[in-house]
């Protein structure tokens, strides 16, 4: 079986799962739904593995698989075709692999929910679209997946739609994504008008011949980056992601941590040829990424909702990845995508396990001392936390340091921000761990008696992910540690060429030392504060210092957007509707009618009923006509 013959099965299977689960959501039993939902993903995973390995043994690293002609109009031809190359094949593994684990987890997590079948069909659909996104051989197919995952994100965030806050969060996510999508779409248009095609295979070779800093390329890449900002929750479009935590926790793990939000990074990595030639865009990306990383980390410091902490952490980590992209560390960023997928999925699922145990209580102020009740969850989450904090030798350490090293090479300031963020990350993550698992239980006694470890279907994925989070670093072990940077080599087969790192080994070591030191200090500080000091975050209304207030209230970004965008637009809308449309434009239209009517009212008075007057008018008419004659002759 060649890749060409297999590849279409990968997205098709989840799609079939979606169709079957969707149609049978009310008739199929929950068990069957779970089996179908997870089974199709697992099958896809198996096929992906097969493809991955056969690609590894293949000399030809990229395969285009044409399915059918989708849109054609004039010079524009858009086939529905897939591109299998190292980049997409590895994404396939992540999506189907982690996807499968999360599906498995969900069979248990969502078991009590009435919308079980619906949930699985949505989840399958998401996987389908995500696969389409990474498999597309042109920007438009990528865009189908791009928007499709947005749709699934919308559906899943609003899964419990009877809660209007959740439904609003879903809408917010969709709309903010759409803002980015417009940028993406415009970028694609510009690609089409510049290169005459939207096929990767046709665009990149042409672009490679262009001069660096070419204006068109800069514009294209900026537009694409705007798209990525929306999908990957970067400043200024990140506020939807924390709200997206309204969805069920597996969704947060799969969509809002492991896969969908990394689509932006995937897309930029895929288009690295273009971005490499647009230094200006790269600077912008680096700055935006660094700023996002820092701001999100600051916000995460004071959050009390366990999922919110993770959500801001995700935003922050995504910022990291963009920082990496901005400084040319494509592989590094992609590496971080991988490791982040492992540990963030793990953390979310762990959080889900905690929430499951706590009967959907998410406020850490009501938790504490869960270590003994949930040992597996605690252990696996600890691994995840260590990984995200960047402590060696867990996976996060390697990916993060690769980015930091590149950042240092590009600009020490960026590196400084990176390290600061790493410090904050370590702090808030351990804060979360300590608040949740150590100390005394702070909930009611009744709840305490019901605490229990989650079933195997939930812990099994945790364990697998924990293993991956721990050892995942090996796939791109840097030279300084005697590694061979396998991932970088592999991805270069897809045309993703990382900038060379020109730092001496000693510099690299010292950089790592600084970041590790920062993480350790943060860990210790968190320990003294929350374990020794047994501090608990104060209640919502309690007074805070100005900085804490800023952090706690997310820099008032939502309020600022509301004030700067939503309110003015609403006001504008009302103004347009009430004043311009109803009063002015329609007023003119109606005014014409009205004035005719008024004219009628007036002119009919000429018909006074008085013969004398009539004759007067006639005589005036006659005089006028005769006067005309007089002048004519």
């Amino acid at each position: 079986m060649t890749i060409e013959q297999l590849i279409w099965l990968v997205p098709l299977l989840p799609f079939l799962g979606f169709v079957i689960n969707g149609l049978g959501r009310n008739s199929l039993s929950k068990g069957l739904v779970g089996i179908i939902g997870s089974g199709v993903i697992f099958a896809s995973f198996i096929i992906s593995v097969v493809i991955f390995f056969s690609l590894q043994g293949d000399t030809q690293k990229s395969h285009e698989v044409f399915l059918f002609d989708w849109i054609s109009a004039g010079a524009l031809h858009i086939p529905l075709s897939f591109l299998v190359d190292p980049l997409s094949s590895i994404m396939l593994l992540i999506i189907t692999g982690i996807g499968f684990l999360i599906h498995l987890y969900s069979t248990s997590y969502m078991h009590g929910d009435a919308g079980f079948g619906k949930f699985f069909s949505y989840l399958n659909l998401f996987v389908f679209f995500m696969l389409l996104l990474v498999l597309g051989s042109n920007y438009i197919v990528m865009f189908i997946g791009w928007e499709g995952v947005g749709l699934c994100s919308y559906l899943l965030i609003g899964f419990w739609y009877t809660n209007s806050a959740y439904a609003s969060a879903a809408k917010k996510a969709f709309v903010m994504n759409r803002i980015g999508d417009l940028g993406f779409l415009l970028g694609v248009f510009l690609i089409f008008t510049t290169f005459g095609s939207v096929e990767f295979a046709k665009v990149f070779p042409q672009a490679a011949n262009m001069l660096p800093g070419n204006d068109t390329l800069v514009l294209i890449t900026i537009l694409l980056f705007i798209g990525a900002c929306g999908k990957s929750a970067q400043l200024p479009l990140f506020t939807w992601l924390p709200d997206a935590m309204a969805g069920p926790t597996p969704v947060s793990a799969l969509i809002h941590a492991a896969t969908m939000v990394t689509a932006g990074i995937y897309m930029i990595a895929r288009s690295s040829v273009l971005f490499d030639l647009a230094p200006l865009t790269q600077h912008i990306i680096a700055v935006v990424g660094a700023a996002t990383a820092l701001i999100a980390a600051i916000i995460a410091l004071t959050q009390t909702d366990i999922k919110k902490v993770l959500a801001y952490s995700t935003v922050s980590q995504l910022g990291y990845m963009f920082l990496g992209l901005g400084v040319g560390a494509y592989t590094g960023s992609f590496f971080h995508v991988l490791t982040h997928a492992f540990f963030k999925a793990l953390l979310f699922l762990g959080a889900g396990s905690v929430i499951h145990a706590m009967h959907h209580e998410q406020d850490m102020r009501h938790m504490g001392g869960l270590r003994k009740k949930l040992p597996v969850t605690f252990l696996t989450m600890l691994i995840g936390t260590i990984a995200i904090a960047g402590l060696p030798p867990f996976s996060g350490f390697f990916s993060k340091d690769e980015i930091l090293a590149h950042a240092f090479q590009a600009s020490p300031i960026l590196w400084g921000i990176g390290v600061l963020t790493a410090f904050l990350t370590a702090f808030y993550m351990f804060r979360m761990m300590f608040l949740t698992f150590s100390g005394k239980y702070r909930g009611t006694h009744h709840e305490e008696s019901h605490l229990h470890e989650s079933p195997t279907a939930m812990t099994f994925p945790l364990i697998i992910l924990a293993v991956l989070a721990a050892i995942g670093g090996v796939i791109n072990l840097p030279h300084v540690f005697g590694g061979n940077e396998w991932l970088a080599h592999w991805l270069s087969g897809a045309g993703v060429a990382q900038h060379e790192l020109e730092l001496s080994h000693s510099t690299e070591y010292s950089l790592m030392g600084v970041s590790v030191a920062a993480a350790v200090i943060a860990l210790l500080y968190a320990y003294t504060r929350y374990v020794k000091g047994a501090r608990v975050p104060v209640a919502d209304e309690a007074p805070r210092s100005a900085l804490a207030k800023l952090s706690y209230n997310k820099f008032y970004l939502d309020e600022i957007y509301d004030f700067l965008i939503t309110k003015p637009l609403d006001a504008l809308s009302k103004f347009f509707y009430r004043i311009i449309d109803n009063k002015f434009i329609d007023g003119i239209v109606n005014g014409l009618g009205w004035s005719t009517n008024e004219a009628s009212k007036g002119i009919r008075l000429l018909q006074s009923g008085n013969v004398g007057f009539y004759i007067f008018m006639m005589v005036f008419g006659i005089i006028a006509l005769l006067a005309y004659t007089f002048y004519y002759i």
Binding site: G612, F616, L626, A627, T629, F630
Partner: protein, 167 residues
């Protein structure tokens, strides 16, 4: 000689016709109108249109004017019962009429047919001549004008008769 007669009669025509419209009493108006028509008869004679002069005398002054008088008397309108229009309207009316005169004459003035009227055929207005014309080329309208008179007759009877049916 006849030229001076014309101007004299024309002046009279104008004066009498003005009297017609300015007399307060309708009866006086009728009488002035008769006088005016008389001056017209003189004009016809001056133009050697003897037949018309006669017809004018008989039909207009005799029949039509008597009918007017008759109706006025019948309706007992011989007093100054007519509430006159407001002076403003009168003035405007006169001005309008004046304008009409001016424009009418103005537009006719350039006609400059200043050549004196010369009677080329003295017998033109005689009954014989007119009869030939009337019963020759104008036979059809002449006959059809019987319809006009008949319609008027039927109508006059119809309108002045008192109906029983109508409630």
């Amino acid at each position: 000689m006849s030229t001076q007669v014309f101007y004299f009669v024309a002046t009279l025509s104008i004066i009498f016709s003005l009297m017609v419209i300015f007399a307060k009493n309708p009866i006086h108006s009728v009488l002035y109108l008769i006088l005016t028509f008389f001056t017209f008869t003189v004009h016809y004679v001056l133009l050697n249109a003897q037949f018309l002069a006669v017809v004018n005398f008989i039909v207009y002054m005799g029949a039509i004017m008597v009918l007017f008088l008759f109706v006025l008397m019948l309706l007992n309108l011989n007093k100054e019962t007519e509430p006159s229009k407001s002076p403003l309207i009168k003035i405007v009316g006169v001005i309008a009429g004046g304008c009409l005169v001016v424009t009418l004459i103005g537009s006719l003035k350039s006609a400059s047919i200043t050549s004196p009227l010369i009677l080329k055929n003295p017998g033109l207005g005689l009954v014989e001549n007119l009869g030939k014309e009337l019963f020759g080329p104008f036979l059809l309208p002449f006959e059809l004008s019987s319809l006009l008179l008949l319609a008027a007759m039927v109508g006059a009877v119809l309108l002045s008769k008192r109906d029983e049916v109508e409630a």
